[in-house]
Amino acid sequence: MNNGWIKTCNADDIEPDDVIRFDHGDRTFAIYRTANGEFYATDGLCTHAQVHLAGGFVMGNLIECPKHNGRFDFTTGQAKGAPVCVDLKTYPVKVETGMVFIQIND
């Protein structure tokens, strides 16, 4: 770990327009790759029913929860309407030498 940055996965492990789950200690995260090849990270569980978002569906900048179809903008964490009302926490992401890092120094 360096200044809160932790290595998560290879960039190629995530398909464009998709999301994967990353567990670290007792925490779980969702790491996204957009169709344009940009990477984002949020908390891994939906704020509504604590379901893993990695099982969900990526549509542009939105992640849809697999259980109740609640949607978040994963670039900002903003909840996009019922049944999700509480925003997701987001984390800084960087890609170096083909690896995806997220910063969780809180």
């Binding site: 998709d18 259980k67 009302c85």
Partner: protein
């Protein structure tokens, strides 16, 4: 030999609510058939085309049958016109309410929301309370004390089911709640699944609905005819029968308090006309397991899951050959339920099938 009938508490604030929580049945993990992520992503793809086509056809049929009913009012010819209009108005709205509530029918969000609001009014389900009640239904499907949408609590109220064919039980209850919401109040049960941030939306939608009803009644009074109410309001009652016929196939007679949709949902094959009316909700097991898959992709999802799920019912008739005897038996023996059999190719049910209610 007489069987002692144990009554369970189907309310969301009673003893079975606490029991479900203690048994780990509330907000639990559910079984999901293994489908490769790549294939699931293909099935989850949203499209506007199919829903726009179906919605335009629905509106056209509503307009045509409504016009025929109006035109032939006072003759017997208006009867078949209003029978079809009522089904399109209310029963068809059930599936539009459902699919657009999940925001999967259209790719475009506002289209889902617009059709959802309209269908909610037509099927007489207040849009915000029912959105949240349906959310809970998906979290805790047929978990007693948690699921607000258990259509046939045990022992079944057969007379209530019959009244349901014309919304004569649910309709008055819904109007009572609309009135309550107009005055800025919610029931104790609603407070368990609707977040406070949504309360104002509930109240204002109820007030708008009341205005629509008041305007329609005023129109009818000015015409000295119930004809306007035959077009707006009453179809939620006289057009509900097909909704009930379809809807009872979803879960009636199947297991309660299980964490596997293969045990508590039915998939029933239907003809293309019924599937248009029901927007493929007959693939109900598939929908519950993967609610992100839009209605137009459910037949393909069904093909993917088939080897891991119980045999689907070949028709409504086959489904009702099971449902009617099961309901009648549950009147006397509420512990009875239909246990679904898995094919040899399927993964076993995770864990034991919970004991029926009488064992509690």
């Amino acid at each position: 030999m007489s069987v002692k009938i144990t009554r369970r508490d189907y309310s969301l604030v009673g003893k079975d609510t606490q029991l479900a929580e203690e048994l780990g049945l509330a907000s639990a993990e559910w079984y999901a058939c293994p489908i490769p992520r790549k294939r699931l992503k293909e099935l989850m793809q949203r499209r506007d085309g199919p829903a726009i086509r179906d919605t335009l056809l629905w509106f056209a049929l509503l307009g045509l049958t409504g016009w025929l009913g109006w035109h032939f009012w006072g003759t017997w010819w208006c009867v078949p016109a209003f029978i079809v209009y009522g089904v399109l108005y209310c029963s068809c709205s059930d599936s539009r309410w459902h699919e657009c509530g999940h925001r999967t029918a259209f790719k475009t969000t506002w289209m889902n929301d617009a059709v959802y609001e309209m269908a909610s009014f037509m099927v007489l389900r207040e849009s915000t309370p029912w959105r949240w009640s349906h959310t809970r239904h998906h979290t805790d499907t047929i978990i007693v004390g948690r699921d607000p949408e258990i259509a046939v609590p045990r022992p079944p109220d057969v007379w209530g089911i019959i009244l349901g064919f014309f919304s004569l039980k649910s309709g008055p209850k819904e109007y009572k709640e609309i009135l309550l919401h107009c005055f800025g109040r919610l029931t104790a049960e609603e407070k368990t699944y609707i977040p406070e941030s949504e309360y104002n939306r509930v109240f204002w939608t109820a007030r708008i609905w009341m205005l629509i009803y008041a305007a329609t009644i005023a129109w009818a009074v000015s015409m000295r005819s119930i004809l306007p109410l035959m077009l707006i309001g009453l179809p939620s009652f006289y057009g509900a029968w097909l909704l009930v016929i379809f809807g009872l196939t979803q879960h009636a007679g199947l297991a309660e308090d299980v964490l596997d949709h293969r045990l508590n949902c039915r998939t029933v094959y239907m003809n293309p006309v019924f599937r248009f009316v029901y927007w493929n909700m007959n693939y109900h097991l598939e929908h519950h397991m993967f609610p992100m898959v839009p209605y137009h992709a459910l037949p393909a999802l069904h093909a993917e899951m088939k080897a891991d799920t119980p045999k689907p019912y070949r028709s409504l008739i086959e489904a009702y050959r099971e449902i009617i005897p099961a309901i009648l038996r549950q009147v006397k023996d509420p512990a009875y339920y239909v246990k679904r059999e898995l094919p040899p190719s399927a993964k076993p049910f995770p864990g034991p099938v919970p004991a029926p209610q009488a064992a509690r």
